[in-house]
């Protein structure tokens, strides 16, 4: 349940529907059916098995539509020991750029032909390959998945093309105030040596060093069946899962020198709130990122923090968006969230605001970040937030892809899927006193890292007057 700025814009969809209905001239007026009792989420049962080579299987069956979702998660990822910055995501992107006897174009044509989607990606903790395929074409789909996992070609021409594309993206990032804010924020919040200090995609120097040999060497070490899980959801039984997995991945053997986990340095909050400014002359908007190192997913405060953040900035009607967007009109959106990962991610509150209200926006942010920990939330806010999370969860486990995503989180955090029910029960019991307490514990306005990218000539004097903390100017 990564709630970082994941506002649900349900209003837009509802408005679109209303327009369609209004134009139905022949529609009859009928009485709306009475609402039944509130349903509760039934977390599906997970079946598990393991292949002789160590590959774990997790299966959740839902045969309502003839679709199968396969997600192959290989532990390791960008924060494994000795992995160069940007290498894990680069290798993952190359897996689908040529494998077996197919080029990138042929791979995507083969997937298209059977109506399948085949994607690869990497994060800090793992690499994942995702296949969504109609049941009737599972065999062809799994053949592609196995090629991509076990027989990627990493041709130097493909590596060069992807490297050029990444360098171009890194150049574009320097032009994007949001990307600059992100990189400066992480660079300052997490010390050198911490995985989050450098972006997942690395930088131009690390990208220049990427070649076919580096990618192949990394992937040969990373692809270890003993540290991999194949998640299968949708129209699939455990027996089918075992059969498909055995024929596609039964011959997958462990690497000679597998990747190992790297220790994670501790990361204390800033000793004082610091303001870091990045100049973007003539910018019409200022990008504001305010954050702290965050908290662990396995903290007992997780349910209360979820409710607290929903009230503060985790939903459309949350305080930050209601004030900065709805009431003041300073921005198109404002929000906050805790990023949960095995290595705690940041707490982050952010918004892009009009240049001439940058200081006013900071006043609102700091007032709200303080207030949530010093004044009780109202019963209406508390109810709304608990309902938002608990009732909203009913729509979070409908599709094969959503269930596969939930399973991959459960693998990542080592928690059974059934723990979702415990979380939701705990969330529905959170009190106003809990909210206030965890806000005070996890959001300390005196120890925040603030990054503002904007037109410094216009915004700096106003920011200085606020006396939020020491100010420094950085470049990116």
């Amino acid at each position: 349940m990564n709630t970082l700025l994941s506002m649900r814009h349900r209003l837009t969809a509802a408005a679109g529907l209303a327009i369609v209905c209004a134009t139905m001239a022949s529609a009859q007026v009928v009485t709306a059916p009475a609402l039944g009792t509130t349903p509760t989420l039934v977390v599906p049962a997970v079946q598990q098995a393991q292949l002789p080579n160590g590959l774990r299987l997790m299966v959740v069956r839902n045969a309502e539509v003839p679709l199968v979702e396969a997600r192959l998660i290989v532990d390791g990822g960008a924060r494994a020991r000795g992995v160069a910055p940007g290498l894990a995501t680069f290798a993952a992107s190359l897996l689908t750029e040529g494998a077996g006897n197919r080029t990138a174009l042929q791979l995507s044509e083969a997937a298209d032909f059977i109506g399948a989607r085949l994607n690869s990606g990497a994060g800090w903790d793992n690499t994942s390959l995702t296949l969504s395929v109609p049941k009737r074409s599972v065999a062809e789909g799994f053949a592609l998945l196995a090629d991509v996992l076990l027989r990627p070609t990493f041709r130097s021409a493909d590596v060069k093309r992807e490297r050029d594309l990444r360098q171009a993206a890194l150049l574009r990032a320097k032009d994007s105030p949001g990307q600059v804010a992100s990189r400066v924020f992480y660079r300052n919040l997490f010390p050198a040596g911490h995985p989050y200090h450098v972006d997942l995609s690395g930088d131009s120097a690390s990208t220049a060093a990427l070649d076919s040999a580096a990618v192949r060497n990394y992937w040969n070490r990373a692809a270890d069946p003993r540290h991999a899980t194949l998640i299968l959801t949708g129209d699939v039984s455990l027996a089918e899962a075992r059969q498909w997995a055995t024929s596609a991945f039964g011959g997958w053997t462990p690497p000679a020198t597998p990747l190992v986990k790297a220790p994670v340095p501790v990361n204390p909050a800033a000793s004082t709130t610091r303001i870091i400014l990045v100049d973007k002359p003539d910018a019409a908007q200022s990008v504001i990122w305010i954050g702290a190192p965050g908290m662990r997913r396995d903290s007992p405060d997780y349910p209360a923090v979820t409710v607290m953040n929903t009230i503060l900035g985790g939903s459309f009607s949350a305080r930050l968006n209601d004030l900065l967007r709805e009431q003041l009109g300073y921005t198109y959106g404002a929000g906050s969230g805790f990023s949960f990962a095995p290595v705690p991610g940041p707490f982050l509150a952010r918004s892009d605001v009009r240049t001439n209200v940058t200081d006013s926006s900071l006043i609102v942010f700091f007032r709200e970040l303080r207030k949530i920990g010093t004044e009780s939330v109202t019963p209406v806010e508390l109810d709304r937030a608990r309902n938002y999370v608990v009732l909203g969860s009913l729509g979070d486990y409908e599709t094969a892809g959503q269930i596969a995503g939930a399973l991959s989180s459960s693998v990542l955090f080592g928690r059974p899927l059934s723990a979702i029910t415990q979380d939701l029960n705990a969330i529905s019991r959170v009190t106003a006193a809990d909210v206030e307490r965890v806000a005070r514990t996890h959001i300390d306005p005196g120890h925040l890292t603030v990054v503002i990218v904007g037109d410094l000539a216009r915004i700096r004097p106003g920011i200085e007057k606020l006396n939020l903390g020491p100010i420094e100017v950085q470049t990116y």
Binding site: E64, L67, D112
Partner: protein, 121 residues
């Protein structure tokens, strides 16, 4: 149809490539594999959409709104499966070849990079 030129290429080049491809499709039709791929993708997209309650509601609403038959999918699917290469040739000739609007977005003052009224006679 939307195409963006890389630096060093002008829009008439892209326009010619698009025109050639459309003409080829109108004259020769798709291959069997292309036709099957299109059918497979459309069917797969449909089953992906109806996984959710909202997807099912949208689908019922859309069929009701457009055809008056909320569960018109089977009819649609039957028609889709019956499409032939000749049908494709016919609709490409009728709807995609001939008079059309072309919008070119070019750097200020570089009108020579814009698409032209007609590149193939």
């Amino acid at each position: 149809m939307i195409a963006t030129a890389r630096p060093g290429h002008a829009l008439p080049e892209l326009q010619r490539a698009i025109d050639d491809e459309l003409r080829k499709l109108a004259d020769q039709g798709p291959t069997d594999r292309e036709l099957q791929q299109a059918r497979n993708s459309i069917e797969a997209s449909f089953i992906r959409r109806i996984q959710t309650v909202q997807g099912k509601a949208d689908q019922l609403n859309r069929y009701y709104y457009e055809t008056g038959v909320p569960d018109g999918f089977q009819h649609d699917l039957d028609q889709l499966r019956a499409v032939t290469a000749d049908d494709i040739k016919r609709v490409v000739s009728r709807y995609l070849i001939g008079p059309r609007a072309i919008v070119s977005v070019v750097p200020q003052g570089k009108r020579e990079l814009a698409a032209v009224r007609r590149v193939t006679p």
